[in-house]
Structures are given as structure tokens and as C-alpha cells.
Symmetry: C4
Subunit: 275 residues, 4 copies
């Protein structure tokens, strides 16, 4: 939907899931480091809930694109013309996010889906988003094109990183990287909304100014810096709350063990190029 809400809505979706991931993955990481038990069942429920939320978001997005007042209402072809292809393309994006959610859910519910298929489905859904955007934004004003094309860095970078997770599953660095890109995508959608459809009677941006394009490029970097900060704070809060929870009981296993693990890890890695 080519208006402020049409960018704020998906932006908020992405941001919410990104924030959730910035909590989930550190928890998973510290739990796994601390004591190897407990995690599976509690974590499984969380994962299934998350997948369900993502499916619901996708369905909302998909329906919203179809049934907004100026939407296609499921009509694809009328007379001799295609009907509202822009909305159809957005629906397609949401559809693929939905598929990724379903595959995630099935992976955690049943046991006969090979591990890695969920990551592949996620990579595909992100790639499809980038693929559609790529052809989407041609023939638009310069600034519009540029601000959308920066999304492609996030999207294709994300798709590559998630594909890597097919092989390097549960690698915390890749997971955090993915999280930071998702938060960035969320804030960037809001930025696009503010620039292309200034709300609250803000001034219009000159869509042809080269200066504006230079600023937007730099602004993109700042957004990423902000995304990294948000993720770091979230990571630190998780760390603090987990170490506080454990202290009263007297068994500071989690963090203590982590420390030695870290040393061990360093030693291990320092010898890894001998192979």
C-alpha cells in the first residue's frame, strides 16, 4: 500500500520479530552454554508460538493488501488489464513469509522434516521479497528508487546469511547478524514511510536532489548502528537477568561455566588451523 501506513505496518511487524529474536537467541545461547538440559521443551514451545505469530502476521498482511478499500479484492484480471499488481506483489511476499512460518512450525511439531529445511524456506521467503522489490522499484523517482534499493542490501545479505545457517545451524553469530538485519529492516520501513509519505503535515522531500540521496545512504548506516545498539542492549539485559536469577540459589553455574567454556573455546580455536 503506497502510503505511510503501508510501510509502518510491515515495519512494525519486522521490528517486533527482530526485538523478540534479540531476546530469544541470547537466551538460547546462554542456556546452552550454562547447562545443556532443560532447554528443549521450553524452547520448543517458544519456537512454535513464534512461528504461529509469524503466520498470523503474514495472513494479516496478505489480507490487508487484498481488502484495503483500493485493493484488488482477489481480482487478478479485469477487462484487459491486470488489477492492482502492486498489492498482488505485496500479497505474494506475505504469502512466502507465511510459508516460511508454516515450515518452521512443522519442523518443530513433527520429526520427519530434515533439519535445515526451515532455514532454507526462510532464506527463500527473504529472497523472494528482494526479488520482487528489485523489479518493483524500477521506473520510479530517483529517491524512491534509491531508498527502496537499499532494502536489497538487507534482504539479499539476510538471504545469504540464512542460507549459511542451513549448514551452520544454531551459530549464534549468524543468528545475531540475522536479528540485526531484521531490526534494520523494521526501522528502515518506517524511514521509507517518513521520507516518501511524510505524515503529520511534514515537508515533502525533493525526490531528485542528489544531496538527499547522499544523506539517505548515510542515514542507512546510522540505522544499522542503531539496530546494533538495540541488539547489544537486549543481549546485555538477557545476560544480566540470567546471571541474577541464578545467583540467589547459589549455583552460579551458568556464567561461571561460560567463562571456562570461553577459555576452552579460545584454546580450541587457537589450535584449529593446525588441521
Amino acid at each position: 500500500m503506497a502510503n505511510f501506513q503501508g510501510h509502518a505496518l510491515p515495519g512494525s511487524f519486522f521490528l517486533l520479530i527482530g526485538l523478540w529474536w534479540s531476546v530469544k537467541y541470547p537466551i538460547k545461547y546462554f542456556h546452552r552454554k550454562g547447562k545443556h538440559s532443560q532447554l528443549p521443551h521450553f524452547y520448543q514451545c517458544l519456537e512454535i508460538t513464534e512461528a504461529a505469530v509469524r503466520i498470523v502476521f503474514s495472513v494479516i498482511g496478505c489480507l490487508a493488501e487484498q481488502f484495503v478499500p483500493d485493493g484488488p479484492h482477489l481480482h487478478l484480471y479485469h477487462g484487459n488489464d491486470w488489477v492492482k499488481l502492486m498489492n498482488w506483489q505485496h500479497s505474494t511476499m506475505y504469502l512466502f513469509f507465511g510459508v516460511s512460518g508454516i515450515v518452521d512450525m512443522l519442523t518443530h511439531l513433527t520429526s520427519h522434516i530434515p533439519l535445515g529445511v526451515d532455514r532454507l524456506a526462510m532464506a527463500v521467503s527473504v529472497f523472494i521479497e528482494g526479488f520482487l522489490f528489485y523489479y518493483h522499484v524500477q521506473n520510479r523517482p530517483l529517491l524512491d528508487q534509491h531508498i527502496h534499493s537499499l532494502l536489497l542490501y538487507i534482504v539479499f545479505g539476510g538471504a545469504a546469511s540464512i542460507s549459511l545457517e542451513v549448514i551452520l545451524r544454531d551459530n549464534i553469530v549468524l543468528e545475531l547478524f540475522r536479528t540485526s538485519l531484521l531490526i534494520l529492516q523494521g526501522t528502515w520501513f518506517w524511514q521509507i514511510g517518513f521520507v516518501l509519505f511524510p505524515p503529520f503535515g511534514m515537508a515533502e522531500w525533493d525526490q531528485k536532489s542528489h544531496e538527499n540521496i547522499m544523506f539517505i545512504t548515510m542515514c542507512f548506516c546510522w540505522h544499522y548502528l542503531a539496530a546494533l545498539c538495540i541488539m547489544t542492549i537486549s543481549y546485555y539485559l538477557v545476560y544480566c537477568s540470567l546471571s541474577r536469577i541464578k545467583r540467589p540459589g547459589g549455583e552460579i553455574i551458568g556464567i561461571q561455566k561460560l567463562k571456562s567454556d570461553h577459555t576452552y573455546q579460545a584454546a580450541l580455536l587457537s589450535g584449529s588451523d593446525e588441521e
Copy 2:
């Protein structure tokens, strides 16, 4: 061959092999999960048959391109001009698919070919297809160029994925990904045929309309969704039939063991980033 049949024929080839793969790889996966024995011999025969079928298909395609009424009949140069280079290029593509089939067959028949060469040969044959297509479709109407260029995503994506199999041989996720791309390629060839050479007196497509291009881009995504669905159904049917076969005999080893494998796998993976 620049007509409907010339796209429907290779499309059907790709679709057939794709469907077969969507049965073969799940069978191999479940068998390997269940009991590690038996597989080799039965599976070897299947592989050799498949390679033979692919060689036959390639020879048919190659000869068809040469000996259709308006083909070059093996003449390459006549007077001062090249003869029917389009057909020669198609022949070349089939030739490389044939080579890939031969290497596959040799890999399974003899034991002195290093494992991975078959995957490399397949990646090369797919890359050559994309390479020729890339230079092939320049100087054509916009829609024609666009619809063919979307093939390049399939083909180069496939080549990259198959190259990865040189190192990560027998990775079910990569195999399923490859299968889905092959099915997509099959249905997309049919789509190209329908769009560029509408059969049964269907209306011509406007080759310059930007709307048509936007639709085709989205349609490509839907085709991939369909390919994923076909593969999922196929995977599910294999799973069901394999678990049914084993139930009467009382030894539900296959699926039971799979379940525990899955848990084991999850545990293993969850600890993999400690290294």
C-alpha cells in the same frame, strides 16, 4: 526451436526428472535414516537407470534441434553465414546435459572416478545452459527477454547449489532445493511457451507492456510456490508409504529410529557452535 513445442518438450523433460527426484531423494533420506543397510545396491540401479534416461533425453533433444524441418541438419557454416545458430546453441546445451548423464553413470558403474566429479559435471552443464541463455536473449522484445532472464535465477542458483554438493554430498536440503528448482524450470518452460507462442488460438501477449512484466515476475514466484507444494506432497507421500510398508511387519524401525535420530541431531547441532 522457437515455438510452443520447443518449450513444452524440454519443459516436460525437466518436469519429469524433477518429479522423479522429488520421489528419489526422500526415499534415499528415509532409508538412510531408518536402516543403513540394503540401500546401496537397489539405489545404485536406480541411479544408473536415471542417468541412462537423462542421456536418452539429451540425445533426443540434441537430435530434435538438429533435424526438425527448419533445423541445421548438422550444417554449421554455409556460404558466408552460420546456419541456424539458435538450434546449434540448444544442441550444445543438450550435449552438456548428456555429458553430465554419462559422468553420473560412470561414477556409479566404476570406482576410480572421484566422488564429487558427477556433481561438478552437473553444475557445469547447468552453468553452460545459463551461460548460453544469457547471451541468447539479448536483442529481443522486452517481455521475451524478461521471461527468459528469470530462467537465469533458476539456472545460476541451481549451479551454485549443485557446486556446493561437491563438498556437501548427499545433503538432503541441498538435494530438495535442487529438485524444487528443476520442477520450477519445467513449469517455467511451459509458461514461456504459453506466453510467447500462445497455443490453441489464445490471445497474444503485449510484449512491451510493463504491467505484463510485473505480472510475469510475480507469476514466477507462484510457480516456485507450486514447485515447493508439489515437492512437499511428494515428500509426504513417500513418508506415508514407507511407514505403511513397515507397519504390518511389526518393525517400525524406520520412522521410530528417525524420531530419535532427530532428537539426537538437534542435541548435536545445538552444541555445534561451541567448537
Copy 3:
């Protein structure tokens, strides 16, 4: 800063760190080969110092860009125009290098940051440099554009190589490669300064001459050759001094053991494709 100093300053920063790395990584490599003890503490201090130096350099660079006489002095928007976006972009680059330095320091000071995050942060900071440069140099004279665009090879090559270190941490070959690229970047910044802003009353370069572009392209290769030579000499000096230090004490363990390690390594590797 679009003048000679504005290129010489960062060039010297990069060169200094590059030279330091060309000493540090060989030391680490030989130490690890020789005796597996001792290293951690001494090395940890070095790493923290290095990170601190990099942070200081980044702060200097960032402030210099802001507070040079014709800088923006932290004003971003004035009247209806953006203020000195070029300087702001450079500040952003330094900011990210600073972030990378901070992450490096934290990784070595605390133990709850996952290994690999430091490399990811470094890769991101290098990528951001390339990203900003890419949009930075459009709409400039041909030679200016070309000489800056060659930087992109260094920067994106470096970002890719550093990303790889997330997975293949402490791989000496990747570390040396990264070092050589950093030295190259340092000398290339000096070259850019000499070409675009000839100091000492040197003759101006014709910015449109195709011959100049051809020479600069080749000159880039020579710079890399020089960078490789510098690194090799540095590597050799470290090797010599380390083997001399150990000889008087009679325990030539370091190098002796290295030799056998090497043979062992060769044997190991020669058998590695059997898997």
C-alpha cells in the same frame, strides 16, 4: 577531506595497523606452532592495546572530519540544505571502525561475547566503508571515480575475507590476506592523494585521459605486489628473530617442532579428501 592530508592521514592509519598486523599474526602463528602455552596472557594484552589504538585513531579521524576549518562542526541540517555531507560520511566510516574496535576490546576483556562477533563487527565496518564509497564517488571526473572504485576491490574483498574468519577463526592464511589488503589500502590512499591533489607543486594529472586510467589500474597491481613484499619481509624478520631468541637457551623447540608439525600437517591434509 578533499585534499592531500585528508588522504594521507587515513592512509597512514591503515598502513600503521597493517604493518603491526604483519608482525602480530606471524608472532601468533609461530608461538602457537612452537609451544602452546604462554601465548594467552601476553597476547591478550597486545590485542586490547591494538583495539584501544584503533578506537583512538577512529575518534581522531571522526573529530578531524567534523572540526577541520571547513568541516560541519556537528551541524547536519542548516537552512534547507544538508551541511557538508562528505565530511559526515567520512565521520560515519570512522564511527564504524570505532565500533569494531570497541567490540574487539570487549571480546578480549569480557567472556560473555560469542567468539566471532568481533570479526563480524570488523567485516561490517569494512563493508560500510565500501558501501559509502560506492555511492560517494558517482558524478565525479573519470579518473577520480576510477581510482576510488579500485578501493572497492580491497574493501569488499576484505569484508568477504573477514566474514569468512567468523567461521574459520585464527586461520593464518586469511589473517595474512587481510593484512596484505590493509597495507594495500594504506598505500593506495597515499596514491590517491598524490594523483588527485599533487603536493609539492607536482604537475596535475589529466583526469580524462584513458592512458592515465590504464596506468592507475596497473599501478594498483604494483601496490599490491609491494604490500605482499612488505608482508613477506615482516614475516621473515619475525621468523628470524624468534628462532634467534630461542637458540642461545639451547631449546630450539619452536622451529624444530614447527618442522615436524609441517610434515604432519602435510600428511594430514594429503589424507583429507578421503572423507
Copy 4:
């Protein structure tokens, strides 16, 4: 050197080394498979000889480019112009091949160079070739540009594949792939010579004909097919001669053991995705 000889000479160099590799790597592969002993010393000598030959070739090429009658004779700048930059660029290419040869030799002669640096140096030298070619061929007739640009596929493909060998050293599939690309490069240089500078009074090629470009594209694929065939024959001859040598002595260990290795390997690999 822009004439037939200037393409035939390097073409022959590449072809010779390619043919040698197509013998060397299979020998190494079969030896390693058969009995793990013996190889090192004999093989070390071969490697050193090869490196020496490559250095000699590079020096010849480098000097030839400088001292042909219309060469620059080591003058870089004369009056206000660069002297014969084309020859200087070719010299630079040879220089990097020479560096790669020297690093290879040092790796086999001394033991304090980390394994993998030789492959990195080779990848860099190949990349530099492609890098220089890329800027080299702009502003030329269409066919000239196209036929040279096809080289880039070989060169960048080769550089990527060799870079991979830094990590996956002694992987026979990568080595054979590299060999096939080198043979292709050799034959393609000859093809370029024949097309751009037809010898023996052959007819000139129309440099603007689109048909010629289409043919050349296809011809490139045929060259690769030929390169693959040459390599296969070479591989097969090595296999035959090695199995014949061993038969008289009664100890058919080599091939016998290979067979079981192969089965073992298959079993191993078939279980590899369980991890």
C-alpha cells in the same frame, strides 16, 4: 603483444601446464589412495620442478613483452606519455604468475610458510590477470571485447576455485576443475589468436557481426567440452598405466584398495548429513 604469436605463446604455456596438471593430479590421487607412503619425496621434487618451470615461463613472457621490437624496453614514461601500457600490463600479469611460482617453490622447499599461502598466491595471480583484462578490453571492437570477456569467466571462476583450495587443500575435484579451466584458457588463447589475427592468409572475421558473437559464445562451450575430454583421457591413461605397473609384481594393492576405499567413502558420505 597484439598479434597471433602474442596469443599463441601464452596459450601454449597455459596448455602445457594444464596438460601436465592433468597427469600430475591423477597420479597424486591414485598414489594417495593406493599406499600412503612413498609419495612425499618423489612428489616434492616434481612440485619444485613445476614451480621452477612456471617461474621460467613467467620470466620469458615478461621479458618478451618488454623487449620485442615494438616493446617498451623498460621505459614507462617518455615525454608526456606512458609508453606501451599494453605491454606493461602483460608484463605485470607474468610478474604475478612468477610470484605465484616462487611462493609455490618456497612452500615446498622450506617449512615455515603456512600451507595455503601457495594457493592464495595462485588465486591472487589469476585474479590479477582477470582484473587487468577487465579494464584492458574496454573501448575495442565488439567481437574483440566479447572474445576477451569470455576469458573472464575462466579467470574469475578459476580464482574462486583456487581460493577454495586454501581451505579444501588437495581436494581432487577442485584440482581437476582448475586443470580443466587451465586447458580451456590455453586453447582459448589460440582461438583468440585465430579470430583476431587470422594467420596463414585466412579470411578476416567481421568484428561487428552479431552472428559471429553467437558462434564464439557457443564455440567457448565446445572448447570447454574439449578440455574436459582431454582431461578425461589423461586421467584414464594415468589410471591404466598405474594399474598395469602394479600388476606384474602381483600386488594390485593400488586399485584394489581404491575400490574398497570408494565403497567406504560412499558409506561415509551417505551418513554425513546426519551430523
